[in-house]
């Protein structure tokens, strides 16, 4: 056995560096402080346009904290059952909005562009995580008999992917609903890679959510369960999480090349050429532009 400190994200930011006693008295504040200090919650990535700042989801930050703390203890995070033995975990944040024309809100669509997922990596797990906000509707939940049934379907079929029961009394408390979408994601990837030349609008994965009263077909207004998406901060948005495992040793420079390619295709040729110049000239002692490019 080895002792490990797993930090719940509810720990107030003020005393994140607080000393966490261990059975063997080892003080963990030093290395935990390093981890917290190094994980910057908000990263301005498009320097010229701060509104495009990418805010990592709290779920991903807690994965990073937990697995890097484990590494500092000499534990290999990809052996964890919770990580499904994956060494890469990709999060796709929901950017959709509800169709408020239809009131009440019976169904929601969740659409994700998963084209950046490498096809060389094996998909070992996938889940859709949806945050159910607290609703003050205690009255109606007391009157509701039986359980709610949260159901998830692909957008273009009635085949149930996964479902969760929810006690009306619990429906007033906020919580994350985690729905397993591994099978459909695997089937989608297989189908996409065989026919991707036909897919004009890119590699999109679409889910549809509804909630019924027990096993009946009576659909509940999703707003009564705090599932409406309007006004959600970044940390409460739904995320699709894909767990993948790369077969051969992962080359750090893949991400570098991806980054440069994506910037070039976004039409920022001059800037990226200048950036590429700066990056490569740091390493190589080239005597001319051609050598530096090599």
């Amino acid at each position: 056995f080895q002792c490990a400190a797993i930090i719940t994200h509810s720990t107030p930011r003020r005393n994140r560096g607080a000393r966490i006693p261990h059975q063997d008295g080892q003080r963990s504040s030093k290395f935990l402080k390093d981890i917290f200090a190094s994980s910057h919650p908000i990263v301005g990535h498009h320097k010229d346009d701060p509104k495009d700042a990418i805010v990592p989801h709290e779920y991903m930050l807690s994965i990073y904290r937990t697995y890097s703390a484990a590494e500092k203890l000499g534990l290999n995070a990809s052996f964890f059952r919770s990580s499904k033995f994956a060494n890469t975990i990709t999060s796709f944040v929901d950017r959709g909005t509800d169709d408020l024309l239809h009131s009440p809100l019976r169904r929601q669509k969740y659409l994700f562009d998963v084209s950046t997922l490498s096809d060389k990596e094996e998909l070992v797990g996938a889940e859709l995580r949806i945050f159910r906000r607290a609703t003050g509707d205690l009255q109606s939940s007391l009157q509701t008999t039986g359980l709610y049934d949260i159901q998830l379907y692909p957008c273009r079929s009635d085949r149930l992917l996964d479902s969760r029961s929810l006690d009306p009394l619990d429906s007033t408390k906020p919580s994350w609903e985690v729905l397993n979408v591994w099978d459909t994601f695997k089937a989608h990837r297989h189908h996409y890679h065989q026919h991707h030349h036909q897919h004009q609008q890119g590699n999109l994965l679409c889910f549809q959510l509804r909630v019924t009263l027990g096993k009946s077909d009576i659909e509940v207004d999703l707003r009564h369960l705090g599932l409406n998406r309007d006004g959600r901060p970044q940390q409460e948005k739904a995320i699709l999480v894909a767990y993948t495992r790369s077969k051969k040793r992962e080359n750090l420079f893949n991400e570098m090349k991806e980054k440069i390619k994506s910037r070039r295709s976004a039409g920022q040729k001059e800037e990226s050429a200048a950036e590429e110049e700066a990056v490569f000239s740091k390493g190589a002692k080239g005597d001319g532009p051609r050598r530096r490019r090599r």
Binding site: S39, P56, I63, L252, A278, V279
Partner: protein
């Protein structure tokens, strides 16, 4: 036999230190990678430095080939260079980064930190 006196000094020249693990602090910000790496922005990678001279210490876990090469080098330095001081054990680190689709990704990168050096 290699011509060196008891303190490892050869003809008055201070002898280089033996193959061992040395500090190497990597700063992704200085590498210009902080536009895609969220965390960590720096880490201790270490590196291996020093000579692999005769006789090789056991903690350097030499391969048989390295033992033979070191022996040949000590007998006739012009015949072959000494074996190399390289990492023999490495460990991974976790990196949280932004991919080309602006998605946040956690990845465990193998072989990022030197745990042990040796002669090979």
């Amino acid at each position: 036999t290699a011509l060196s006196n008891r303190h490892g000094k050869r003809h008055g020249k201070k002898s280089k230190s033996r193959c061992s693990k040395k500090a190497l602090h990597v700063n992704f910000k200085e590498l210009g990678w902080d536009d895609w790496i969220i965390a960590p922005l720096d880490y201790e990678a270490y590196h291996c430095e020093g000579v692999c001279d005769f006789p090789l210490r056991s903690h350097l876990e030499p391969t048989n080939h390295a033992i033979i090469q070191t022996l040949m080098n000590s007998m006739d330095p012009s015949s072959t260079p000494p074996s190399c001081c390289v990492p023999t054990k490495l460990s991974p680190i976790s990196i949280l980064y932004i991919d080309s689709g602006n998605n946040v990704v956690y990845k465990q990168y193998e072989d990022m930190v030197v745990e042990q050096c040796g002669c090979r």
